[in-house]
Symmetry: C2
Subunit: 147 residues, 2 copies
Amino acid sequence: MPYTIGHAAKKMGITPYTLRYYDKEGLLPFIERSASGVRTFRDEDMEWLKLIECLKSAGMPIKGIKSFIDWYAQGDSTLRKRRDMFYERKAVVQEQIQALQKTLDRLTYKCWYYDRAVASGTVAVPKAMKPEDMPEEIRQLKQRLDE
Amino acid sequence: MPYTIGHAAKKMGITPYTLRYYDKEGLLPFIERSASGVRTFRDEDMEWLKLIECLKSAGMPIKGIKSFIDWYAQGDSTLRKRRDMFYERKAVVQEQIQALQKTLDRLTYKCWYYDRAVASGTVAVPKAMKPEDMPEEIRQLKQRLDE
DNA sequence: CTACGACTTAGAGCTAACTATAAGTCAAGA
DNA sequence: TCTTGACTTATAGTTAGCTCTAAGTCGTAG
């Protein structure tokens, strides 16, 4: 049996406010209502929510997701648009991952740096350390960051 | 010789407005001024900007970055706090990468799905396809997503 | 010497994405 | 029957992070 908005929200780890907001923005045209107007979320609808979540975390704004939903409603004539959109998002996410990898490298270096600093009680020690005295892994990391 | 705010902004791929905003929020206490009050960005300061950018892309809000800058100004007594902050951020970024990997998986599946749909002119074809008829790689992807 | 462009400040305005409030409806349990 | 709690709508408020405007200053090229 279907879920209420509260159950669906809990399942998705968001609030009912957010789901109503999405509905208002046209992201949930597939949701049916009970006789008294209450939204009913089926398992099939939960898949839509997962897709919305996916596009959101792929950096797509609400309006972009709305476009996709509209294209979907228009049927097979919009297949190419939809395919292109997914390829574009895939590329965006690949870039996001690369950027985060660079961020992670910098943080990894800083963690090493501050481990040295805490161990010696002063930042002066890692600050003065020459590349050739650093662990291989850290030296390579730092070199990449300095480029 | 040092850069003006316009040059520094261009180097970082942001606007002078943003840099002034960061300064106003206390993120740039290290920036010196010329006799007439113009901010002067040295190469050393650019490193700070890169660190700020790093923390920002690690999901840290402006206020959190400000805390770090304040701790730095307080000297070696805050070494542990700073180290802990970097470890915490590192963990956050690792989670972000994992989440994005999941997002990427879903998008990869959708790209395959829509490639099939476009190739056949209708979404009905990939929709009806059974797991055993999918390419190995896609089947595994889909199975992971359905869990 | 003056015009130009980039800088300065304070403060207002903007956008996205929620998040909450108020007033009301409805269904199920004591 | 009545209370309780989750739902409904419309609309207002919040937050983060910029982004811009206005009014004015400064330094250099013509």
